[in-house]
């Protein structure tokens, strides 16, 4: 039962502790510093963030100190670079924001790391490589690069590599541009490690990582007459193991699963996941709050999770007519929909994520609260990312919201929630109980309490 004295969700009574927080403390947040995406790489050793200013910051987990087995590994800055710049499309009079919408890592193949980062229009493949030695002892050049006077060269020597301070370099290796008329909301790397998809409001394209001058359109839901537009694509993802399968979600709360073996253009879905609704129960808000803001396959590939405004749903890929599990994220907001519509919060796009073994899912909420929903133990907890709870290894206390009626001690009333403090982006380490939670401009890292 939520809020009991027992510890929070996370499997086997995991307690979450503060580990680190990155970012400035000041309340005056520059727009560029707003975090727009957070993503661990496949090993969990690297953690990338993207922001509204088009910058990427990558943190690296320090290898644990073997002498102190209980010491916690920290994430420190590994590399940072400007991924995208603002542009203005003069032909269409459209501003192209530099905001990084998504980052996706490629599985590691060699010493370098690769990630895809995208703004509304352009996807870039970045190579992040380390340099820890440099050649010294050239015959024709001085160490600083100036050419030596050839008359002074009397002997020959073989240049050698000598160690140098670690330098991490990021370079753009591919730029995938000009394939999206509308705004890119998702990118997803295929399990074949050769292709990836990019999705905008109306279309999904398939790219080869090596080829930048063309992409294949695989889904197109643009109506012939834009007046007939009723639905847009909100997210898309490749299946983690089946390279022919992907899903995309819509603003009407449906998810379509497509099989690329069936046809070149996947306008006709193989499966349609939709929870039936009694039309007489619909309100003005029904469609808006049913819009899916995120879809994520489980690591197993058997399930997928969707996030709509008020809930998280787990779907079994073998059952299309309803989700197998539904969790309320912040049900107390249902009686506030009018004001949430007026302040545009009802359009906020929350993401969600799975833990490594698919037993717990996490998603953000308002007031810098985030929710951990334990599927296996049928428990949930609300935690808060705040500077007040940021002493080293401080255990996070569960939070409770009072929807109405008598507010108990330690509860916060719905009307006191700060709707400007939204946690839209969260990420879970692929193997360990380490989570990254982004508030507006700060990145919090929490870890499982080690006894």
């Amino acid at each position: 039962v939520a809020g009991s004295n027992r510890t929070g969700a996370g499997g086997n009574d995991v307690q979450w502790c503060f580990s680190q927080v990155k970012g400035a403390i000041d309340d005056d947040v520059a727009e560029a510093d707003i975090i727009s995406t957070v993503e661990f790489n496949h090993s969990g050793e690297l953690l990338a963030t993207g922001d509204k200013g088009g910058r990427v910051v990558i943190f690296q987990q320090e290898t644990e100190n073997k002498c102190q087995p209980l010491s916690r590994s920290e994430y420190n800055v590994y590399s940072t670079f400007q991924s995208h710049e603002p542009e203005f499309d003069y032909l269409k009079s459209l501003e192209i924001e530099e905001k990084i919408n998504k980052i996706r890592w490629l599985p590691q193949k060699n010493a370098a790391q690769f990630l895809l980062s995208t703004n509304d229009k352009t996807i870039k493949l970045w190579k992040i490589s380390e340099r820890d030695k440099r050649p010294e002892g050239y015959n024709l050049k001085e160490e600083d690069g100036r050419y030596r006077d050839s008359t002074t060269i009397t002997t020959l020597r073989v240049p050698v590599f000598r160690p140098m301070d670690l330098m991490v370099e990021a370079s753009p290796r591919r730029i995938f541009a000009n394939a999206h008329t509308y705004h890119i909301n998702s990118i997803s790397v295929n399990s074949d490690n050769e292709t990836y998809l990019s999705a905008d409001d109306l279309r999904i394209n398939l790219w080869h990582l090596e080829i930048t001058d063309r992409s294949f359109n695989i889904v197109d839901i643009k109506p012939a007459n834009m007046e007939d537009l009723t639905e847009v694509i909100t997210a898309a993802e490749f299946h983690p193991h089946q390279c022919n399968t992907f899903v995309y979600s819509s603003s009407k709360g449906t998810i379509r699963l497509c099989d690329m073996r069936a046809s070149a253009l996947c306008d006709r879905h193989s499966k349609l996941f939709e929870e039936p609704e009694d039309p007489s129960n619909r309100s003005f808000f029904s469609e808006i709050i049913s819009s899916i803001s995120d879809v994520k396959f489980s690591h197993s590939g058997r399930y997928m999770m969707t996030r709509d405004y008020l809930s998280v749903k787990i779907w079994d890929l073998n059952m299309e007519n309803r989700p197998v599990e539904t969790y309320q994220v912040h049900e107390y907001l249902r009686s506030k929909l009018c004001s949430l519509y007026e302040n545009d919060c009802i359009f906020d796009k929350f993401e969600c994520c799975w833990n490594g073994n698919d037993s717990v899912v996490m998603t953000g909420s308002y007031n810098n609260f985030f929710r951990m929903l334990d599927r296996s133990q049928r428990r949930d907890v609300t935690l808060e990312a705040s500077r007040e709870s940021s002493k080293p290894r401080q255990v996070l206390k569960p939070r409770r919201v009072c929807a109405g009626g008598k507010r108990k001690k330690d509860e916060i009333s719905v009307d006191s929630l700060d709707f400007n403090k939204k946690i839209l982006h969260t990420a879970w380490h692929p193997q360990e109980n380490i989570i990254a939670v982004a508030t507006t401009n700060n990145l919090y890292i929490f870890q499982e309490k080690v006894n």
């Binding site: 970012g23 910051v57 710049e85 459209l94 501003e95 808000f285 029904s286 309320q328 249902r334 009072c402």
Partner: protein
């Protein structure tokens, strides 16, 4: 009371809450389109970032950065309401400003 894990309010209560909120909204904005969610707001979403032309875009950018030195602005004039000169334009050099996360 806070909705517990997996337990939503009974459906009838959910619907009546939503319909009450809808009534509140329609009372405030009687001209709100009868088509819920729907194509109007979708089309607005697709238009995100649209400006009339590059002049309009640059004027909007100039208004955003109020601390910019604007050449001989009278007190009554509002920054961004006149066609900007090159000095007025916010020359964004984002690459010079590192992310505060990387400090």
């Amino acid at each position: 009371s806070e909705a517990l894990f997996g337990e939503a309010e009974p459906e009838t209560k959910m619907i009546s809450m939503e319909k009450a909120e809808e009534a509140k909204l329609k009372a405030k904005y009687p001209n709100l389109g009868s088509k819920p969610g729907g194509s109007d707001f979708l089309r607005k979403r697709l238009q995100k970032g649209k400006y009339f032309d590059s002049g309009d875009y640059n004027m909007a950018k100039a208004t955003k950065n109020k601390q910019l030195p604007v050449a001989s602005v009278e007190k009554t004039e509002i920054t961004g309401d006149h066609i900007p000169t090159p000095q007025d334009l916010p020359q964004r050099k984002p690459s010079l400003v590192a992310s505060k996360l990387a400090v």
